[in-house]
Amino acid sequence: MGDIHVNGLGKAYKRYPNQWSRLLEWVLPFGLRRHELTWVLEDIDFHLRAGEAVGIVGCNGAGKSTLLKMLAGTVRPTCGEIAIGGRVAAMLELGMGFHPDFTGRQNAVMNGQLLGLSVEEINELMPDIEEFAEIGEYIDLPVRTYSSGMQMRLAFSVATAKRPDILIVDEALSVGDSYFQHKSFERIRAFRKAGTTLLIVSHDRYAIQTVCDRAILLDQGRICMQGEPVDVLDYYNALMAERDFKTVRQTVLVDGRVATVSGTGEATITDVQLLDAKGSAADAVAVGEKLCLKISVRTASVVPRLVLGFMIKDRLGQCIYGINTHRLDRPLLDMADGDVATYEFRFEAALGKGSYSVSLSLSREDSHIDKNYEWRDNALIFHVYNNGKEDFVGCNWLDAKVDVRRNGCQVLRAGANHNAPG
């Protein structure tokens, strides 16, 4: 239960030069083939074990939705096979089949039936659906009076009322407000714990990194990479910047992380070091320590404008801080071939404990999308430990101070007398 095997899967759409040629192909019994096949997915192979969570990423038109539709069973594959064990719930579009003139309850019943549940099952699940959707008395009002968020909440509650063996979600995780998003994530996590296999398509990096064990990158209808979500997403980002494949390379670092480097190569990073207050290279720094990020760059041809940027990411790949020399108003202009530039960024490690990575970019403008000389993910890894600072949580050290008064008198330390001087 919950396994998915996909072998040699492909999907092609027929394209006819015009409607008449389709008619001719249909009516002439041994006629010529008059259509051309446009392949949107080719050679898709993967295997998911029960309880695995996989995110599918790729740019628009990469074939993600077609793949999900085939797994959900609405679109038929042109070749290859899909073997699915268990009940599939597919949320390709929430609120599909809702009728605006009927109440939330009536729509929930209809929608549940459409998803293959029996009326008795739905009636049994109804209290859960109502409770989860949290739309109160609106449940008995026509759906047309709902806000779009309420509609989504109800639809999500119905679609996930019964735990499926396989859950397929297309861009639907951004349901409602952040409170409900959080709640729907929780439900999906609970399903996973109970053994549901999860397949999601999302452009939300955070969603994929927090929920998935694995990511699959689709590009132009083919699987172009599978692996750890962080690595796949880094690669995907690099791909987005650099549509020309060949310049993207990945190497596995000592700690197992994958460094992704892409770019056209007119300028390259030759050295990167993180220096502590004493000026020696550090891979572990204390909270609040003064740091210097030292980067050397060499040009390999004429570069009209050079901007260096760095970004600190946490363990999950979330960006903590990023800045570049364009925004700091220090771009280098008219660089000749072979020029060397060194940069020193000074900052305090106002970070929570944990491990962080530094990504670097060399570009012409503010954004690396425009002209990307080099993009380097995981150029450097460092750890932050808490030495001497109060034990705080989170990824940012805000150095909060506190002023506490008890019955109007200042309290200076734990257990201090309430009439202490001050």
Binding site: K14, L23, W26, K69, T74, A90, L92, F102, Q113, L115
Partner: protein, 265 residues
């Protein structure tokens, strides 16, 4: 293959019946009179025909004496034609109109034509019940012979369903079909003796009209309700065979093109 389809329909019966109910309700949901409109509309139609033809124009059918015989003649053909054309017209658009649902939800698609046929049947039963009431009130009820209208109805529904599914599938690939069906039904209506009787036609036209499969059907209804006469089954039988062929052909076409249909929507 049809066994699978039947199982699918049975499994989704809740959804089908719910949809039929919802479709019916949604039409009258925000009106004050509600479902009363479902009754008023056909009633108005029957009254109009009766008043205009029986009272104002004093139209009489040759060979009958009753005041209402022409309006009964008209209604028996018209109401059943209404069912026929509603099934075909709904069938023609059923896949196209539900395109998004077909693409995004995995459910047996055969439910969709089933829903549209049932919807048409609900409307028809109301209309027909009023017609029967009208017959009783005007003391024109022909008696137990009305039961023989049932097999004729089944043949007609089968014919319409087969045709509707074929038109519905083809319409996805060739939008011309939808346009064409509307025109076809209009010609077909006037090519069927509903408003006029075959007796009033020239012999050449009468021969030609014999090829129209709806002609024996219409005549059967008119015979039952106007003259209290059982249908000539030997004339219904070929139509039943055609209905069967259309249904099998429709299901075959549907099965064969269902996958490609999703790609086109």
């Amino acid at each position: 293959m049809s066994v699978n389809l039947a199982i699918a329909i049975w499994r989704y019966r809740g959804f089908i019946l719910g949809s039929v109910k919802r479709d019916f309700q949604s039409r009258y949901q925000n009106s004050l009179l509600g479902a009363a409109w479902a009754v008023v509309q056909p009633l108005a139609m029957i009254v109009v025909y009766t008043v205009i033809f029986a009272e104002m124009m004093r139209t009489r059918l040759p060979g009958t004496s009753g005041t209402f015989s022409y309006s009964i003649y008209l209604c028996s053909g018209l109401l059943t034609w209404g069912l026929f054309s509603e099934i075909v017209m709904r069938g023609q658009g059923v896949f196209l109109d539900n395109g998004n649902m077909i693409k995004k939800l995995n459910f047996p698609r055969i439910c969709l034509p089933a829903i549209s046929v049932l919807n048409a049947l609900v409307n028809f039963s109301i209309t027909f019940a009023i017609f029967i009431a009208f017959l009783l009130l005007t003391r024109s009820f022909p008696g137990l012979v009305v039961l023989s209208a049932l097999p004729v109805l089944i043949v007609q529904i089968g014919f319409a369903t087969g045709l509707g599914i074929i038109a519905g599938v083809l319409n996805v690939f060739f939008r011309d079909v939808g346009q064409f069906i509307g025109i076809l039904l209009q010609f077909w209506f006037w090519f069927t003796p509903i408003v006029y009787s075959t007796a009033s036609l020239a012999p050449a036209a009468r021969n030609l009209i014999g090829f129209n499969p709806m002609e024996p059907i219409a005549q059967a209804y008119q015979g039952i309700f106007v003259y209290g006469r059982a249908p000539d089954w030997s004339r219904i039988f070929p139509v039943a065979v055609m209905a069967l062929i259309l249904c099998v052909g429709g299901l075959w076409l549907f099965r064969r093109r269902a996958g490609e249909m999703v790609d086109e929507l």
